[in-house]
Amino acid sequence: MTTYRELLSQTKAEISELDARGAQALDGAAWIDVREADEWQEGHLPGAVHIPRGFLESRIETAVPDKTQPVVLYCASAARSAFAAKALQDLGYESVHSLAGGFTDWKRNGLEIVMPRFLSPEKRTRYSRHLLIPEIGEAGQLKLLESRVLLIGAGGLGSPASLYLAAAGVGTLGIIDADIVDETNLQRQIAHSLDTLGTPKVDSAKRTINALNPDVDVITYRERLTSENIDRILDDGWDLIVDGADNFPTRYLVNDASVWRNIPVVHGSIYRFEGQVTVFKPHDGPCYRCLFPQPPPPELAPSCSEGGVLGVLPGIVGSLQTNEAIKLAAEIGDPLVGRLLLFDALSTEFNEVRIERNPDCPVCGDHPTITEYIDYVEFCAR
């Protein structure tokens, strides 16, 4: 009868064992970690592929189809990897090596290791419907969880956008809004409720988001965006901006800052039955000033007394904005860059017009004339 010790030493005699330096000297080697999942999750070698020992024979030909490619196998202390090396030799791999001392010695010698990024079992359950989509999967969900999105406004557009972004697992949401929740908001602003009447919209939205998804870190700015505070807020670091502002001065401030700081803006606006959505991605496409170089005169701005909006319209337009934001954060699909989507709720029609970067744009053009913030006078307060 052969004991384990005897079998291990026999096997080691039949395979090649290399120390870290020898293994690193191999040209174009595939590094395979044959440990169990819980060991892998506590750190692994850079560039290694994880194939637990039990799956090695069945998966190696997919991972390393070329049997002449050198293979370095490692486990914790070079026992499992020795048996693994023997198995790969039997499968016809020509240059198979077991890493002497395994992961334990590698780490003890202070060589570089990588901590894998992975979703906890709770997050796997919560985001399972995203994980099932190949375009998102675990990598995309991790991107969403690490992304930081700033919402301008927690009103009609900001309500659905903040809820869907939070549900999608966008890790950090900033919300700027100076307003208080009142009864007239509840016809459309679904982040707020009777329970939060009279409280700041940013606090009300934060409460709703926390109840929906505690993974999301909500940073609130109970203030109106101006040239005085915009740099302080943007200095907090945002990957993208979802603009649901209700006035032209803020639209232009957000645009100019986003161009100078190279932050994509998902733009949405609504009036009565109609909405517009686009993505302003600095230098890849037009900016808001390419489309409208300066605010319209008061007689062409929507009259406030004639205003009004169908309650569900911001739900539709804010959700379209969220769709763009999620795609940008997960780096998938074709964002609405250079295209302005027009939605008419009465006829249920979508139209799209092409918008181009204007080389003479005063902000993103070749010879910009606007280089500092402009506080336009707001001619339409509500």
Binding site: I152, G153, G155, G156, L157, G158, D179, N185, R188, Q189, D243, G244, A245, D246, N247, F248, R251, G268, S269, I270, Y271, R272, F273, E274, Q276, L291, F292, P293, Q294, P295, P296, P297, E299, L300, A301, P302, S303, E306, G307, V309, L313, P314, L340, L342, L346, S347, N351, E352, V353, R354, I355, E356, C380, R382
Partner: protein, 91 residues
């Protein structure tokens, strides 16, 4: 006759119409015709021989400023979209 879509902020000037018709082989002719038929609407979009700077005009989805401006050709089957800036976020 081409179809001109009237944006919501200009509908009062079009008697509430969502779409109106206008004639012309170019954008200039079409806007002149529109201004003749509906002076209140036309003058918001077109004046002193120019498209107002706060309005974008699209012929079949293309901004006429990126094509031939007022000389951009218009066909009978064309749809013209008039687009002034909108700011609303539904506060």
């Amino acid at each position: 006759m081409s179809v001109v879509r009237v944006p919501p902020v200009l509908r009062a000037e079009a008697g509430g119409a969502r779409e109106v018709e206008a004639n012309g082989a170019t954008v200039r002719e079409l806007l002149e015709d529109l201004t003749g038929r509906m002076p209140a609407l036309g003058s918001r979009v077109y004046g002193e021989g120019e498209i107002r700077s706060f309005v974008n005009v699209y012929v079949d989805g293309e901004d006429v400023r990126t094509r031939d401006g007022l000389d951009t050709p218009v066909r009978d089957s064309s749809t013209i979209i008039l687009l002034p800036a909108m700011a609303g976020g539904g506060r």
